[in-house]
């Protein structure tokens, strides 16, 4: 039986225990980003609410894509992960129907991640974003399997 570690909204968790699985529930417009290093056997999962922090020194950097994601990667590097071996997969970033672009937080979260990764030469191995479905994301630390569940269905990315 694996140990379930919940990642709340605006939260991030890292694990090197092969018996752990990191779970974040009910991604709406939020971005869920999983990072896994097969060589180091370390996985991390972040649940960002918003694309950009209002200033660099915020109380909870994991709330924001632009500061939370780099911090997650730095924390993983401190534990022995190498940037070149990290596998990144993203999910979430949904939207209500007919919402205008400037109010579409989900699209802005994804755009911020893409800009951040493009600037740093990082690529996403898989994405499952957009639409109007809620998503729950589960990362298995031992195998790196990333499972998405939504509305009674389940699939792997």
């Amino acid at each position: 039986m694996k140990n379930r570690i919940t990642v709340s909204i605006s939260d991030m968790k890292i694990s090197s225990d092969p018996g752990d699985m990191l779970i974040t529930h009910s991604l709406g417009s939020c971005l869920g980003l999983a990072a896994w290093d097969p060589q180091a056997g370390i996985g991390a999962l972040i649940h960002c609410l918003l694309p950009k922090s209002p200033h660099p020194d915020v109380a909870n950097p994991f709330m924001y894509v632009n500061v939370g994601v780099p911090l997650m990667i730095r924390r993983m590097a401190a534990l022995g992960c190498s940037k070149g071996s990290l596998i990144f997969r993203a999910a979430g970033c949904g939207s209500m129907l007919n919402i205008l672009n400037q109010f579409d937080t989900g699209a802005q979260n994804m755009a911020m991640l893409e800009a951040l990764f493009a600037k740093n030469g990082v690529s996403l191995a898989a994405v499952d974003v957009g639409g109007s479905i809620p998503r729950t994301m589960t990362l298995h630390v031992d195998t790196g399997a990333l499972i998405i569940t939504s509305q009674g269905k389940e699939w792997e990315i």
């Binding site: 009910s26 417009s29 939020c30 918003l50 209500m96 919402i99 109010f103 109007s132 009674g152």
Partner: protein
């Protein structure tokens, strides 16, 4: 077109299963009301001349409610140095609006905290969803610099009540409704109307009207999913819609219906809510919701 009711109503709920619009309404109207003191307070809040003394009296009328208010007011979260020993003291130290929110939320909590299986909401999720709409509505008003009508939080809190009635008490399974919405590219409430003959907003409004709640709260619930379709604009209704949008975006209490609702841009525009307000409101919503949930857990 799918025939109303038959394929989506499960075996839970009443002995005789509701099978269409009229049956669903009859089933909803047969449900028991919320506790009487909470009903009185909700009604009174729509009175523009409401005052602190009368509100204190309404709470003191019920010993259980008074005990809850004092327990919540003395919670470490508020950090008051001296213990609060009376309802009036709580109203004075915490503010009328805050205490009223706690009273109403604590009155709704016992019935709203359970699972709403038909709509895929685990225990606690429907209550989180409800509280978040009320909080989000008030936050939107605060950030846009407008005065929220006194009943805004209450109306927001009650907006999704029809979902609880359908998904828990009347045994409706939302799965086929979602399937229709996806297949025919409909919003979720459009699919509800096609399959059930009524959507959860209308059913909730009919229920609250039958309980005698004030008309401003009833119409707010009726049109909160799409204020663009309402006969005339209303500030509390627009705020509740923005509260719903914030809650949905934050992923709070999402069931199988997910984010499959229309955003009414007119509501944002009438209120003067900007994208920057939305981002700030989302930040505050997540923080405030945690605090309210901790307090309610003591009720």
């Amino acid at each position: 077109m799918t025939r109303p009711g038959n394929s989506v109503v499960g075996s839970r709920g009443k002995a005789r299963r509701p099978t269409g619009r009229e049956d669903l309404i009859a089933g909803a109207l047969a449900l028991p009301q919320m506790p009487a003191p909470v009903m009185r307070i909700m009604s009174y809040l729509s009175n523009p001349d409401s005052d602190m003394n009368t509100l204190a009296s309404l709470i003191e009328y019920d010993p259980g409610l008074t005990a809850n208010v004092l327990r919540m007011a003395n919670s470490s979260l508020f950090g008051l140095l001296d213990p609060v020993t009376t309802t009036r003291d709580a109203l004075f130290k915490l503010g009328t609006r805050r205490v009223m929110q706690l009273v109403i939320a604590s009155g709704v909590a016992p019935s709203a905290a359970g699972e709403v299986k038909g709509y895929g909401l685990a225990e606690g999720e429907f209550l989180r969803f409800s509280i978040s709409i009320g909080l989000g509505a008030e936050l939107a008003a605060q950030l846009a610099g407008i005065a929220a009508p006194a009943h805004t939080f209450t109306a927001g809190l009650l907006c999704p009540i029809g979902k609880m009635v359908l998904g828990r008490f009347l045994g409706v399974d939302a799965g086929p409704i979602l399937d229709l919405a996806v297949t025919e590219d409909l919003s979720f409430e459009q699919a509800e109307r096609r399959i059930l003959g009524i959507d959860h907003a209308e059913l909730g409004a009919l229920l609250l009207a039958s309980w005698g709640l004030p008309e401003p709260i009833v119409t707010c619930v009726r049109w909160h999913l799409n204020p663009c379709l309402a006969p005339k604009p209303d500030t509390a209704r627009d705020l509740a819609h923005v509260g719903l949008a914030l809650t949905t975006m934050a992923g709070i209490g999402l069931g199988v219906d997910g984010m499959r609702y229309q955003a009414c841009q007119d509501s944002f525009d009438r209120l003067g809510v900007t994208p920057e307000h939305v981002n700030e409101a989302l930040e505050k919503l997540v923080d405030n919701l945690t605090e309210i949930e901790e307090i309610l857990s003591q009720v």
